[in-house]
Subunit: 266 residues, 2 copies
């Protein structure tokens, strides 16, 4: 059972990161031998890697002295991903404003062909959309994802998503590429994207991108409401509302003249 390190990489570090990945996805803490078993590594090796990770605070003992879980240092370091205070401080007030209007607001970025959630501000009421920070969802089924896709050219979208079939999340999910591209064309005209129960039954959401001083897309913002009793004009109203919030956040970040929606080449 040889497992040579990838070219130009470091085997020990790769293994240590796989331990972090494993524990991050595990709902409960795991012991040394259990981890070793799942990763196909000798316990003595895992033991040493864990000791290093623990001493640095990236792991910690869950209970008295048994199994291990992700440590506080990983949390601190990970939150540095959000980076410069500017993005969050520009967007969070907008999310709170949305919540005041009974719209649950989300902030996310595109990574790894997915949307990664950075923050959520729940609206009052029975709306229980609980996407923890770090949660990953599909690009093609969410308002956030589709707002990001609408920024790209059709060719870029195809080369990004064309390799695998689009998974169906709900009955309304766009699983055909042409259908999705048609949506994107509409969003470019509208100035916002939306997802009508395409990712979660019973919820309508709209999305719009946030730009920084260079004019590049730095994040995407969305707002969600229950889909029941929602007239067609209400959808447009929410779309405009989210669009405005994203515009305001972008302006706060020093984005240049609020240009037309769509990719630069358009």
């Amino acid at each position: 059972m040889s497992n040579p390190p990838a070219s130009g990489e470091n085997q020990s570090v790769a293994r240590a990161l796989s331990i972090l990945d494993l524990l991050a996805d595990s709902p409960e803490p795991l012991g040394v031998r259990e981890i070793a078993r799942r990763l196909g590594l000798p316990p003595s090796n895992v033991q040493r890697l864990i000791k290093t990770l623990t001493r640095a605070g990236y792991l910690e003992q869950a209970d008295a002295t048994l199994r291990y879980a992700i440590g506080y240092r990983a949390f601190q370091v990970g939150n540095a991903f959000v980076g410069q205070t500017s993005l969050v401080s520009a967007v969070m007030p907008e999310l709170y404003a949305l919540a005041d209007e009974h719209i649950t607001g989300f902030l996310g970025v595109m990574r790894d062909r997915s949307v990664v959630y950075l923050a959520t501000v729940q609206s009052e009421g029975p709306v229980a959309i609980n996407h923890r920070p770090g949660h990953q969802t599909h690009l093609h089924s969410t308002a956030m994802g589709k707002a990001l896709l609408a920024e790209m050219s059709d060719e870029a979208v195809i080369s990004l998503l064309g390799s695998d079939p689009l998974p169906r999340i709900t009955q309304s999910t766009r699983i055909e590429l042409p259908q999705l591209l048609a949506d994107l064309a509409e969003y470019r005209k509208l100035g916002y994207s939306y997802s009508d129960e395409e990712n979660r039954q019973g919820f309508f959401s709209a999305g719009a991108v946030v730009r920084d001083a260079t004019g590049g897309v730095v994040a995407v913002l969305s707002g969600a409401v229950p889909a029941v009793d929602l007239a067609a004009d209400a959808r447009a109203r929410i779309g405009m509302r989210v669009h405005d919030a994203a515009q305001r956040a972008s302006r706060k970040l020093g984005a240049p003249t609020p240009r037309a929606f769509g990719h630069p080449a358009g």
Copy 2:
């Protein structure tokens, strides 16, 4: 310049983690050679470690193809620290409720002789307390920290904080241990802790611990308001309010009979 690995640890992993630590604390992305210089390591070594970290998503190129910053995978993994959905889903509604009453709410845990912030819900108004998740503050100057200390015995507090002098944060900070212990005794009777501009000029905050089903302390909750125009009875009112919020969250986590404040031996 020899730098042998600590006993029973892994040198490569320790170095990789030091890269993460460095980039997490750096306000801007850093290049390979810059990192190598700051850590006292050869660039070729750093290069390989970075490649491994990048391929796993723990680092990513900031701009076109220049310097490196913390990656999205670190964010995702780090957020697993918050762990079981139960804690957050039990506490967040309480924080939102506080915000409705113009109290900015915080959630934190004790780690490494400090309070680590997990979440914040800002109240409306001009209150701009912006403690990003992962932020670390002192135990002795914050309401959250003092609520945690009040759970320990005086001896435990002394052995925890007695080694170093307590740093002065504001003019009101308790920098004398006996003074701090007197505070803690008061909090045990009150059922909540408070910090009267001891950590931040102009802000009063109160704190109370959250317990899980085993009765152990799993987190601490606090609420902050501007200190101006705050009558003495208002302080008590906010303290009780925060105490109630913590109680409710604890009950939601299945905590046993709301027992008296104070450490078990008391």
